[in-house]
Subunit: 207 residues, 2 copies
DNA sequence: GGGCGACATGAACGATCGTTCCTCGGTGCT
DNA sequence: AGCACCGAGGAACGATCGTTCATGTCGCCC
């Protein structure tokens, strides 16, 4: 049990071994990369046969696409929920959005790593759909920044650029986070919320 | 000519086709990923034969390692030069370090993409050496932050964490930068210097 | 009870992979 | 003149890849 995710990304989907295959694919792609992992690896991890994978997914690419779709759907849902539960001011909303995002990165570290590293191997409409999904999640942050700039809470120019910088920062958490690290999950989330608000040049109440 | 780098990463090394092979490997790994690109692809891009690659590099892994070593050496040199030419205060040094780093990311976008995406496929001492190289470059930023915190210029807690956040931000520039984008090379560098100083909670002279 | 769709398997196909082997022209040194 | 060595290329090796095929077993519905 040396996993980087204690909770499986995909719960039961109501269709045979589908969830097991998706979780196995995430583990395989995460460990060896999309091109480095073979369908035989995935089958072995899922505890099924090679040919059976093709009863669920028509190709290796589609399998990757489905894994990434599940990951981003869960991420987007978590962030939206956090923003909805936050206050009306941009500062509170940004803080909760960042905290939810970092929380997901910690909970589903492998999924985030695979999401950012292996999207490039998708093509055609699978690729387009995933990029659209990711853009939608990023737009949540962009909208909050715009609200904050319009209301005078943030003083950064170029809302979209600042949002992208913040997301770069929190995405990278997946590349270095270790559960045994100095900061707890909550402290890590709070620290990045502070970085985000500082970057946005919000007036600093802290210290 | 749709390259993402107008200047070759490796100039002549004084040994036959070595530089051509290194640049070809960078292009191939960048376009298809380490496992997606074949040694035949590299040979074709370098304009030589498959077997001749092994007169220069003992394996595909060592070829990747050499490419990444060249990239990080040039990056580190540029940042060190910029810091040495900057003023003595941490604010100036951080600004120039970020500007130099972003400048390199723009000039050698493909090298930065390959550096961050394909290091994972290195093993053993090749991997260890490259991680050490990267850590040395990151330490430049960490030292500046520490200097700034000690001298009262920055108010962020946890110097090393803040430095890592800044580097995450500038590294990610390689994933989205396009030459035809809204900001020029210099504007992009300046904007990220501002983000970095804001994140460090430096007193804001701007605006 | 007969057929049908969903799930499962082992074997096989053709393609491609990293690497090695063998050969050979050229260059410089003794 | 002879020889060692470096750079270069064609052919081949064994392994592994994604995908397909043929076959089989269930449970479910008319």
């Amino acid at each position: 049990m040396n996993d980087r995710s204690s909770v499986l990304l995909v719960a039961d989907t109501g269709r045979g071994n589908e969830a097991a295959i998706l979780n196995a694919a995430l583990a395989a792609f995460g460990a060896q990369g999309f091109n480095g992992a073979s369908m035989r690896d995935v089958a072995k991890r899922a505890g099924t046969s090679l040919s059976n994978l093709y009863n669920y997914f028509p190709s290796k690419s589609h399998l990757l696409a489905e894994v990434l779709r599940h990951a981003n759907a869960e991420l987007e849902a978590r962030v939206r929920r956090a923003v909805a539960d936050a206050g009306d001011d941009a500062t509170s909303r940004m803080r909760e959005a960042v905290r939810a995002y970092v929380g997901f990165v910690v909970d589903q570290q492998l999924a985030m790593l695979v999401s950012t590293a292996e999207v490039r191997y998708l093509q055609g409409e699978d690729r387009a759909r995933l990029v659209a999904d990711r853009d939608r999640t990023q737009a949540i942050f962009g909208d909050i920044v715009e609200q904050g700039v319009a209301g005078g809470e943030f003083r950064t120019p170029h809302a979209a650029d600042a949002a992208r910088a913040i997301l770069s920062m929190v995405n990278a958490v997946a590349t270095w986070y270790r559960p045994e690290g100095r900061l707890s999950r909550g402290q890590l989330a709070e620290q990045h919320a502070r970085y985000a608000l500082a970057l946005l040049e919000a007036p600093l109440p802290h210290v």
